[in-house]
């Protein structure tokens, strides 16, 4: 067969291929499709949902057990020697704490605090970080120089020490905790956004928008920002567990959420003297903290991998091997404009 004949045959084959096999898919769809096949990430989502639902439903459990979170039960919630009672005793599902409060209920209410602090501080940090990064990256020049050095300065702070000092000076309270954590979380996001903006502002679509007379603010927030959502989402997902742990750390040190409001950190602070006599007092809140932060971290890793298939994780390798025997997909994905060049799914399998 001559070369001309081969080209003709391929051209014919292409023309005769069914038209519905070619689909345009957005990066978000492809990310979701990869994510839902990542069992670790899906498991993490399930865990986070369960913890969130338990936190939301905490008052229902209070009405079920009749144990408000800050009520003590000196007669039934502690032994004669004043030690916490074990799980299952006197209707305390996970036992009690040192003053006879229901540990299960307090862990649930602690989850409310932890998730609230994690989500709110991350939202504040993301909003501030994206705004500062966009402004620094887009305007450049002295604006960039000033903001970039400020970002560097914030990142260079020994933040745990400074956070402790601020908590001492301003007094421990929920708004102070949220403010302190947010202040130390936005800079990392801002630095990534600045770098991406420096690159994106040189792209043709930005040039086009500028030539059409779009204002800098419109270009930043309507043209560039949508292209930054992917890395920001990954960073935000990973920032939530950091914020939860940060809050727990401050509360553990007595400078975060104050008694009688429960938080996992202040429960662990109380429990440290009882680890020999009442294992449940340490194990359950520590497990809640561990599982929640682990779930958010694994979900963040999963989202990052799903958005950037060049970074494959060890857990994902098993999935690839299992898919090897399946027939190659017949579709050819067309990458949406927002993402980078996408690999055909057949190549991935």
């Amino acid at each position: 067969m001559s070369i001309a004949t081969e080209f003709a045959a391929e051209a014919h084959a292409t023309e005769s291929a069914p038209e519905q096999a070619i689909e345009g898919r957005s990066q978000w769809y492809l990310t979701w499709r990869r994510l839902r096949h990542d069992r670790v990430a899906v498991g993490s989502v399930v865990v986070i949902l369960i913890i969130t639902l338990l936190a939301i439903a905490a008052p229902l459990f209070v009405s079920l057990t009749h144990h408000p979170p800050d009520s003590t039960y000196p007669l039934t919630g502690t032994t004669a020697a004043g030690l916490p009672v074990a799980p299952g005793v006197h209707g305390f599902w996970l036992g009690t704490d040192d003053v006879g409060r229901d540990l299960f209920i307090r862990i649930l209410y602690g989850a409310r605090v932890s998730l609230f602090v994690g989500v709110v501080t991350t939202a504040i940090a993301a909003a501030a970080g994206v705004s500062m990064g966009l402004i620094a990256g887009y305007f450049g020049g002295w604006v960039d120089a000033v903001l970039a050095r400020f970002i560097d300065a914030v990142l260079a702070f020994p933040y745990v020490v400074l956070a402790l000092a601020l908590a001492v000076v301003l007094g421990p309270s929920l708004p102070v905790i949220i403010g302190v954590i947010s202040f130390f979380s936005w800079a990392a996001i801002s630095r990534i956004v600045r770098g991406q903006t420096l690159s994106l502002k040189e792209k043709e679509f930005v040039e086009a928008a500028r030539s059409l007379g779009a204002s800098p603010w419109r270009i930043m927030f309507l043209d560039i920002l949508p292209n930054l959502l992917a890395p920001v989402l990954v960073l935000a997902t990973l920032a939530i567990p950091q914020a939860i742990v940060f809050e727990a750390t401050l509360s553990y040190l007595g400078l975060g959420i104050q008694q009688p409001t429960p938080s996992w950190g202040n429960i662990l602070a109380e429990a440290q003297n009882f680890y020999q006599e009442a294992w449940w007092f340490v194990v359950f809140p520590a497990a809640a903290l561990l599982i929640t932060t682990l779930a958010f971290n694994l979900l963040g890793d999963g989202i990052r991998d799903a958005m950037d298939p060049r970074t494959e994780r060890v857990f994902a390798a098993g999935r690839k091997r299992r898919r090897r025997g399946r027939a190659p997909a017949r579709t050819v994905a067309v990458t949406a404009a927002a993402g980078g060049p996408e690999q055909p799914s057949s190549a991935a399998s």
């Binding site: 000196p74 662990l268 294992w279």
Partner: protein, 611 residues
């Protein structure tokens, strides 16, 4: 996962593993060596968080001050050490009854030591009781008079333990102190060591005289059946003439202490360590109360964690505690282990109690309203607080200001609640009658250590049931009692409405003077123990009647009436009286507990093995 979250995850996992291992593990206490004949030698290691507050015996007023000063400061009369776990037992009575120390005998009417209708006490001083000077010098009557004069320390910020005992008994003591304070209040008269000494050497206290160097006579304003107890306080130690070179309670004095006891301070590094060695000037023949069993005593300061201190003593690297109570969480396990080097010793105190700041203007002056205070009396769950402290094996719930076993104690309870767990209904009823039908928010001050924080949490939870919302205000131990007794500012908004207090009687038995007057006598001054600044002519009269009563029984009757009045007025909420659990290293024997010191008696401890 970021580096931080990985670390935290690792810590959380380690906590989980440690707790699970602990749950499966068992105690590893070392059995104590058998008791027997005292062994001489060795170094006694004392572990402390911050160590003694004062080495000068005039301002020294804590149990850990007393623990150390027992070794280098002697009194005319003092207490033997006979550790007991039974309150009121023969050993308890022996340990709380003054016997002769520097004095040849305890003065009594039968031996002619107490005359003039009980108003003249004559003490004869033993020969051979020497200061560790070169050469050793006899302790004299003037040395005791010098100490009484030092009670009126006029130095700025000068702190004095409790001068009220002597000022309320000894003729001319109050006038002397007032004169000295007035003299140095003049800006022209600086309170230097030389000037203070000059004033003291040119003025006398009429009630104190020294017919000769070995005889001290003390004239009282009126008979005082507890005067020997006052003289057994470390405040009444001998004071060498060398101390005139220093301002009382100064660092310079602390660095140049002299000893007439079995040990002397050889090294003092503030905040770090204190070392005592045997005092060669001391003679066992002159001192029936103390011994020189161990060769050296080393106080290591800066170990703030009770758990670390316990671990150190279990490992044998430290021997006895000083200023840190054993962690209540460890008590059940130690009791169950039945190790002989852990015991719960008899004691008699009011720890803790709740005090009301009667002058607080907060919440419409709620604390000045009797019904609000009575609501709190009903609302507090005493059993919840007791369990925070370790339960009934280490404390007993009390309902009176005077704890059981002391003169004036009568068992009554004006605010009974079921199982001592509070009565929210009565609490709410009183609160409504007081004009707070929708509850009231008050500030509660407490020390920020783990036990006091948990006690506050228990009180807060119990009062919330009847609508009293407590906002916690925690303070470090170093400033807590200064702020609590800072009466000039405590009538301002936002200071505190209620607070936790602790009180240990300065002596036991005939000790009404050490309880009721401290709590309730009109004394709204800086450093007052009457934290609420209560003032009542009726109360003051009862105190005066009790202090001048000719017999202990009559005094007891007045003390009880004062106690009853205090609870009718709901001035404090007595919660419990603590016993004293101590863990020592396995090699510690002898005087591991003295109720009048409130800590171990280091002059009666011996070590086996000693090295």
């Amino acid at each position: 996962m970021t580096l931080l979250t990985k670390r935290i995850a690792a810590v959380a996992a380690a906590l989980l593993a440690a707790a699970l291992l602990a749950a499966c593990g068992s105690s590893s206490n070392t059995p104590s060596a058998s008791s027997g004949k005292p062994v001489y030698g060795g170094t006694l290691h004392i572990v402390a968080a911050s160590g003694p507050d004062h080495l000068d015996t005039v301002p020294a007023y804590t149990t850990y001050d007393y623990e150390l000063s027992r070794a280098y400061a002697r009194q005319l009369v003092s207490y033997p050490t006979d550790p007991t776990t039974v309150l009121g037992s023969a050993a308890w009575v022996k340990s709380t009854t003054p016997t002769a120390d520097v004095a040849t005998v305890v003065p009594s009417t039968s031996n002619g030591g107490i005359t003039d209708g009980g108003t003249l006490y004559t003490f004869h001083i033993k020969t051979g009781v020497d200061w560790d000077t070169t050469p050793p010098r006899q302790v004299t009557a003037e040395d005791f008079i010098r100490q009484f004069k030092a009670y009126c320390n006029p130095a700025p910020g000068g702190f004095v333990g409790n001068p009220l005992y002597s000022e309320s008994t000894i003729v001319g003591m109050t006038a002397y102190c007032n004169a000295e304070l007035a003299y140095f209040a003049n800006p022209k008269h600086a309170a230097t060591a030389a000037d203070i000494t000059n004033f003291q050497n040119t003025h006398t206290i009429p009630g104190l005289s020294a017919p000769n160097s070995l005889t001290l006579q003390i004239k009282l304003m009126h008979p005082a059946s507890d005067f020997l107890n006052i003289m057994a306080m470390p405040f009444a130690s001998a004071r060498p003439v060398e101390y005139d070179n220093y301002v009382p309670n100064s660092l310079q004095l602390d660095e140049h202490t002299l000893s007439d006891g079995p040990y002397k301070i050889s090294s003092y590094i503030p905040g770090k360590s204190i070392t005592l060695v045997r005092n060669s000037a001391w003679k066992q023949s002159t001192d029936p109360l103390r011994h020189q069993y161990v060769s050296t005593i080393v106080v290591t300061e800066g170990v703030t964690s009770a758990a670390t201190q316990l671990a150190d003593m279990e490992a044998g690297t430290q021997d006895i505690p000083m200023d840190t109570n054993i962690d209540p969480a460890a008590i059940p396990g130690l009791l169950a282990s039945k190790v002989p080097n852990f015991k719960v010793w008899a004691w008699d105190d009011t720890i803790p109690y709740v005090v009301f700041n009667l002058r607080s203007p907060d919440a419409g002056g709620a604390m000045s309203k009797l019904l609000v205070r009575q609501a709190v009396e009903y609302g507090v769950s005493k059993i919840a607080v007791q369990k925070v402290y370790g339960g009934p094996s280490v404390s007993k719930i009390i309902n009176t200001t005077i704890p059981p076993g002391n003169v004036g104690y009568v068992n009554f309870n004006l605010y009974p609640t079921p199982q001592n767990n509070g009565n929210p209904a009565m609490c709410k009823s009183d609160l409504t009658k007081a004009g707070y039908p929708h509850g009231v928010t008050l500030t509660y001050m407490y020390q920020n250590d783990s036990v006091d924080t948990s006690a506050f949490t228990a009180i807060q939870a119990s009062l919330k049931l009847c609508g009293i919302n407590l906002i916690g205000k925690s303070e470090p131990a170093s400033s807590y009692y200064t702020d609590l007794g800072n009466s000039p500012v405590n009538n301002k908004p936002g200071t505190y409405d209620m607070a936790s207090g602790e009180w240990i009687p300065d002596w036991f038995g005939n000790n009404g003077r050490t309880i009721i007057p401290a709590f309730f006598q009109t004394n709204c001054t800086v450093n007052t123990v009457n934290y609420g600044c209560y003032s009542s002519a009726k109360m003051d009269n009862l105190i005066n009647e009790a202090e001048t009563a000719p017999t202990v029984a009559q005094a007891g009757s007045f003390w009880h009436q004062a106690d009853l009045l205090a609870l009718q007025q709901a001035l404090i909420v007595p919660i419990q009286s603590q016993l004293f659990p101590i863990y020592t290293s396995a090699r510690v024997h002898g005087g591991v507990w003295s109720p009048t010191i409130g800590d171990p008696d280091i002059t009666n401890i011996w070590l086996n093995p000693s090295s």
